[in-house]
Amino acid sequence: MKIVVCIKQVPATGADKRYTEDLRLDRTGVEAIINPLDEYAIEQALRLVDDGAVESVTYLSMGPDQAAEALRRALAMGGDDAVLVTDPALAGADEWATAKVLAAALDKLAPDVALMGMASDDARGSLVPGAVAAMRDVPLLSYGAELKVGDGSAQVRRLSATGYDWIGAPLPVVASVTDQIGEPRYASLKGIMAAKRKPMETWSLADVGLSADDLRGAALTQVTDTRAPEAKPPTERIENLPAPEAAAKIADWLAARKLI
């Protein structure tokens, strides 16, 4: 049983980010981390290894050269090897192009389970897992609070409107997991040392069988303008008042906005 965990390098949560003159997100000089929600996918994969259900874990990332750092950090947590798909033609890739490249790389790696975080910190569409599943024509098991594999199939435990369901499908599958997996492990010093010797390959677009034309300029969407949001009145504060008086002031505030 082989799992490939897809990870994305993103700017650190809360880091100062802005748009460049040519309307791209400027990530230069910003501390980069593994997308925090991808760490849960890593943790889930490594738990399946710990339990003996999975033999190998490969990490896959699409990004600039420095995304190799994120892959090394993942390898320090555990797992066997890593692949970075990097190409000048991928700059500014949108969710569609990202899915296209990951799907092509996964076709080559042919895992039983391609595992992802449920969303990325810097693009909140959560569309990549479903798009990759569709491009590869494999079932999607999404938003798992837990993943089980074995006997030619995989299952995720997923919150439903009124409780939870186990959703299953025959292998191979694409799966995504939530932060209910449990807290991701830290890399040990031994793990960090070991990661330096683990194999990492770098693939170009051609290596996954795609051309720049296939990606239509890396995006089907374009940002045409950026602006500051409408100015919002400063926060009003109610402080140092006994509860009944504070409550009356809150009620006045709500009434003035026709909320009560």
Partner: protein
């Protein structure tokens, strides 16, 4: 090229989800700008018998993808023929189900996609969307690149469009053409477990009273429930409160929980970490009650009340009750 506006219309338990009604209204609004009509892609239990009723909310036509309760993405193969070049845009609810089905169409038809939008419009036949990015500090305008395949997928949060009520139209209903075999259809519900207590759908609430770490326990949600009941709203929570087991995960608001857009959000004992903020920052009015005068939520709330939630929340419930009675 079709100028129609498609939308995903989810049904459950025999009735349209509120998202289906909101998106019917939104699609009709966009269609009036594009010169087309609103077309529903309806799926889930009750879709076959209920699809025509979407006409009352603005849909001219409805295509039924299937009438069973199964994972939404399994309907993607049935949607392909209708979606391909079937409209200028396809509105999808920004819920786990809606995103999965929309994502599969992005993958199957190579479609451009826009993350949850603040607004969308059609000018001179071109779809334009606005999104808040970088924690709401920047508003970007985006559109499909020239020559991109259609429809463009547009994710829409609940409460973005106000449903048109009181209409009496009937949508013309058709069944989706047969789909090719696809592995996407092979995911199925293997086991279903019901929670002991019925849980409300937080995404549909117009008033939310949310509690966090400061609520300090399961019992601490009691006063919040009373306030929510008085306001006709629902109770929500931060991840800390859900992780602690004080409240069901279905009620968690934030990056990994529900993304909500109520007209009023009251946060009690919630510090306002970025992961929570991205789940509620589009609420129209934000009131925060926290004993820490430096809590981050104080920086983006409209009204920040510094004080003990266990005194202020019951006092507020009492005050609202008194005014209602007066």
């Amino acid at each position: 090229m079709s100028t129609d506006i498609l939308f995903l219309a989810e049904f459950a338990d025999g009735a349209p989800a509120r998202s289906a009604i909101e998106l019917a209204t939104g699609a009709a609004e966009l269609a009036s700008q594009s010169g087309g009509v609103a077309v529903a892609l309806a799926y889930g239990s009750g879709a076959a018998s209920g699809a025509a009723s979407l006409g009352a909310h603005g849909a001219a036509r409805a295509i039924v993808l299937g009438d069973e309760d199964r994972p939404a993405i399994t309907y993607a193969p049935a949607a392909v023929a209708s979606a391909r070049d079937g409209g200028l845009a396809l509105l999808a609810p920004a819920t786990p189900n809606g995103r999965d089905l929309a994502a599969a169409l992005v993958g199957l038809l190579d479609l451009p996609a826009f993350g949850p939008v603040r607004t969308a419009g059609v000018t001179d036949g071109v779809l334009e969307t606005e999104q808040a990015t970088l924690q709401g500090s920047v508003i970007t305008t985006s559109r499909p690149v020239d020559g991109a395949p259609t429809p463009a997928v547009v994710l829409v949060l609940a409460n973005t469009f106000t449903p048109a009520e009181g209409g009496s139209g009937t949508a013309e209903v058709a069944e989706a053409p047969g789909a090719d075999d696809s592995a996407l259809s092979k995911a199925s519900v293997v086991e279903s477990h019901e929670a002991e207590a019925k849980v409300v759908n937080l995404e549909e609430a117009s008033v939310i009273v949310a509690g966090g770490r400061g609520v300090a326990g399961e019992a601490g949600f009691g006063p919040l429930r009373e306030l929510a009941a008085e306001l006709g709203g629902a109770v929500g929570a931060s991840r800390a409160a859900a992780d602690a087991g004080w409240i069901a995960y279905q009620l968690q608001i934030g990056q990994t929980g529900k993304v909500v857009k109520p007209s009023l959000y009251i946060g009690a004992g919630i510090s306002g970490a970025i992961q929570h903020r991205v789940g509620m920052q589009t609420a129209e009015h934000v009131v925060a009650i926290n004993k820490d005068p430096d809590a981050p939520i104080g920086e983006f709330a409209d009204l920040f009340v510094v004080g003990d939630l266990f005194q202020i929340v019951p006092a507020l419930t009492e005050e609202i009750r008194r005014r209602k009675g007066a």
